[in-house]
C-alpha cells in the first residue's frame, strides 16, 4: 500500500537499541518491584510498549521472529507460572499463596528469592504477552 513510511533510516537503527533498553528497564522495574514502586504490572507494560515500538519500526513479522514464542503462549505461561507460585505452598503444607522466602547468598551477595517474586514474574509475563499480542494483532490487521 501507499505508506512504507515508518522505516526511515534513523528510526530503524534507533528502534532496536531503544527496545532492548526498554526491555532491560522493564526487567529492572520488575525486579525492583517488591521494595520500590514497580512490580509486575508496570514491568509488563513497559516491555509491551517496547515491543510495540519494535513492532512499529520494522514491522510485525520482525517482532514475531524476534520473540521466539507466540505472545499469547507467553501470557499463558505467565499465568501458569503465577498459579504454580501459589501452589508451591502446597509442598510446604501451608495455605495457598504463602510467601516462601529463601535467602541464598550466591557469590557473596545475598539475594532474596521468593514465591511472590515468582508470582510477580508471572504477572510480568502475562501483561507483556497479552498486550504485545493485542498490539501486534491490531497492527498487522492494519494492512487489509
Amino acid at each position: 500500500s501507499g505508506y512504507r513510511g515508518m522505516d526511515t533510516l534513523i528510526f530503524r537503527t534507533m528502534a532496536p537499541y531503544l527496545t532492548a533498553l526498554m526491555v532491560l528497564f522493564s526487567v529492572f522495574v520488575l525486579l525492583r518491584g517488591h521494595n520500590q514502586p514497580g512490580g509486575g504490572f508496570i514491568g509488563g507494560l513497559i516491555a509491551a510498549s517496547a515491543f510495540a515500538i519494535l513492532g512499529i519500526s520494522n514491522g510485525v513479522s520482525a517482532v514475531r521472529r524476534a520473540l521466539w514464542f507466540d505472545p499469547i503462549a507467553i501470557a499463558g505461561t505467565g499465568l501458569a507460572v503465577s498459579a504454580i507460585a501459589g501452589l508451591f505452598s502446597l509442598f510446604a503444607d501451608v495455605p495457598f499463596m504463602t510467601a516462601l522466602w529463601a535467602f541464598p547468598n550466591i557469590l557473596g551477595t545475598e539475594v532474596a528469592l521468593s514465591t511472590p517474586m515468582l508470582f510477580d514474574i508471572g504477572v510480568y509475563l502475562v501483561v507483556t504477552g497479552a498486550i504485545t499480542a493485542i498490539a501486534l494483532a491490531l497492527e498487522e490487521r492494519e494492512d487489509d
Binding site: N35, P37, F41, A130, I134
Partner: protein
C-alpha cells in the same frame, strides 16, 4: 478535600454516562474509558486521600510513616485499572470487528441478533 474531589468524580461520571448514552459505538467506548477513570478516582477517594507521602517503608524504619497514603485502595485501583483497560481494549476491538462486518456503528442498524421482523410462533398445534 475529598468533597472537592468527589465533585470531580461526579463530573467524570456524568460525562462518562453522557457519552455512553449516545448512539455511536465509539462514543460509547470513550464513555467506557472515562468510566474506567471515574471508577479509579472513586476508589481512590474511597480510601480517604489525605496524606501525600507514598506508601513505601523507608530504609530505616519498618512501619509506614504515620502520614503515608493508605495502600489498600491503591492495590484495588491497580487491579481495576488493568481490568478496565483490558475491557476497554476488548470492547474496542469488538466494536472494530462489528463495524467491519456490519458496516455501520450506530445502534439503530445493528439488530441482527433481534431482527425486527421476527415471526410469531405457529398458532396451530
Amino acid at each position: 478535600m475529598e468533597g472537592f474531589m468527589a465533585i470531580i468524580v461526579g463530573i467524570f461520571f456524568t460525562v462518562a454516562i453522557y457519552l455512553m448514552l449516545s448512539q455511536y459505538i465509539i462514543r460509547i467506548l470513550l464513555g467506557v474509558a472515562i468510566l474506567g477513570n471515574a471508577v479509579n478516582l472513586l476508589l481512590f477517594i474511597a480510601g480517604r486521600v489525605t496524606r501525600e507521602i507514598p506508601p513505601i517503608i523507608g530504609k530505616g524504619a519498618d512501619v509506614l510513616p504515620a502520614s503515608a497514603a493508605n495502600p489498600l485502595p491503591q492495590a484495588l485501583i491497580l487491579t481495576a485499572i488493568v481490568i478496565s483497560f483490558s475491557f476497554f481494549a476488548f470492547l474496542l476491538v469488538l466494536a472494530y470487528r462489528a463495524y467491519q462486518t456490519l458496516k455501520t456503528d450506530d445502534t439503530h442498524q445493528m439488530r441482527l441478533a433481534e431482527p425486527e421482523d421476527a415471526p410469531p410462533p405457529p398458532l396451530g398445534y
